[in-house]
Amino acid sequence: MSDRLSQIFRRCKQEKRSALVGYLTAGDPDVPTAEKLILALAEQVDILEIGMPFSDPMADGPVIQAASERALAAGTSINDVFTIAKNIRETYPDLGIVLMGYANVPYTIGFDSFSKQASESGVDGVLMVDIPAEENSICEESLKKYNLHRILLLSPTSTDERIKLAAEVASGFIYYVSLTGITGADMGEATAVKTQVENIRAFSDLPICVGFGIKTPEQAAQVASFADGVVVGSHFVSQVPQHLDHSDVMLSSLNKAASEMSAAMTKIPA
């Protein structure tokens, strides 16, 4: 199993901060621009989540849905996703790289072929939104064979029984969805999130990253005070449609958003 992710969390712990996990959709708004944006984001984050565009992103809000649509309209293929990952890996040997998406893309090209290519592209783990622990057998063997972490989601509706099941299956880290909703909605109440994160720790030693709905550095700092990692997605993705005609402004506003979030990671109250 690739140990890069655990090294990242260990390093962050030594530096007394949370890891910043940043998401962008591959191929949004087109492959060359996306690669520039993702390279820029890689500079600011500890772990990069690269979204694999899908025609039917059922768990995503309008911002990431639109990103998926732009990427597919621009002709983004799964090979482009692998190529972007590979290029990022060459520049950033210590960065965590996770592919995030929906089951049908890896299922259709074959989990074995998908995992092999992901692994060869320097990917550390895979997060598939619609493959819960119960359906693990569909991808388990392939991911293990190619040393890919299986990152699982937990949510406020996850019962202790489900948390236990996920803890048995997950590796790399656990992604706690801080609200019952789709990506990009408003964040849940911070103290409630903290209680739930602590409950998950009773079942798993894996690092816990919290995401969904974190839009401001203040929110990020709040979450960073109790979570091992903070995931920012829609907030970064939303920089793209705001500046579609000016890719240089798009890049600079993403840089600004990312550095603000990165700075927030260090603000850990006692």
Binding site: Q65, N104, Y107
Partner: protein, 414 residues
Amino acid sequence: MNNKQNESIYNLDIAHAPDENGHFGRFGGRFAAETLMQPLKEIENAFFKAWADPGFHAERFDLLKHYVGRATPLYHAKHLSAEVGGAQIYLKREDLNHTGAHKVNNTIGQALLARRMGKKKVIAETGAGQHGVATATVAAMFNMQCDIYMGREDIRRQAPNVFRMKLLGANVVPVDSGTATLKDAVNEALRIWVATCEDTYYIFGTAAGPHPFPLMVRQFHTVIGQEARAQCLEQAGKLPDVAVACVGGGSNAIGLLHPLQDDDIRLVAVEAAGHGLESGEHAASLAKGQPGIIHGSLSYLLDDDEGQIQGTHSISAGLDYPGVGPELAAMMETGRLELDSATDDDALEAFQILTKAEGIIPALESSHALAAGIRIAKNMKPDQMILINLSGRGDKDLETVMKMLDMSETGDKA
């Protein structure tokens, strides 16, 4: 109501059940976002509890009889049979249900379940609007708040049904994402449900989606096949040689065919061939698709070689869906289910044939089953019998048919 009669016709055993995670063979399952896993389990638990409770069925059958108008007739279409000149054609008249299609069998069942679970609000997706109307109808009767998600494109195509839903007090929410049709309406309803599952029940409209929907929707529709089976024995003194139903997601098909699968009867599923199976413009996921994962289950679907879901085409909005229920996929792979298809033109022709021969205007969905059924009947003997599910009535399709016939007339003149 007559409980004894119900006991004799309606078998409440759950035959051919999926495994505990909802797998029918290698298909089905629960490929859902984590947030939905617990709500789905709660529905599953509530469903099994209700299904084991005679009180639930007493209430359900009472509504099916007095509100929906069941049992629906089995009609020996003698004129059509004579015109076709082959097997005796029998029609299961689901078009005579309240709201004009089989869909209400399911919405009655799920609304009763939602009420038992204490949910105050229901949501549903709809394509043609039939499931939306059936949901809005029961929501009105049960005094539940109701939001119907519908693709903007379908809202444009199905204006009368949109008006019907609004009259019934439902809020029709337009969906603009993706292709703005049924699949996108399902995506949007799932997204909303993720955020509202605490007080909201999602009445899924077909025998697809994550477990327990394929099982539950099937169980609420098996009343079709159970009645038809008993009626065939009573009216014809025998079971049919062939049973035929159209397939979009597959709810009317599994409802008719499931109770007949242990009999020596050919079971035929008819998919929408649109402009032709080789045209690339159709909705034949079993014939032309490949296994994949969409809307919470593993089944056949129409996607490209990288797993992106493809746009579909059918004259019938109710069949215009890129996926299909997992149990039908499993029945096809074991060879129990035969596949057939009908093009837009075939369906339009069958629509007119039945209307003129029997004075029954069928839904365009059901016209696909009729088109294939007539073709099969032609090659059978007059002492043989074919059962066709007339899943809905055609009033909703008059505008579409009018346009198509105008077009072909103009075409003839040109």
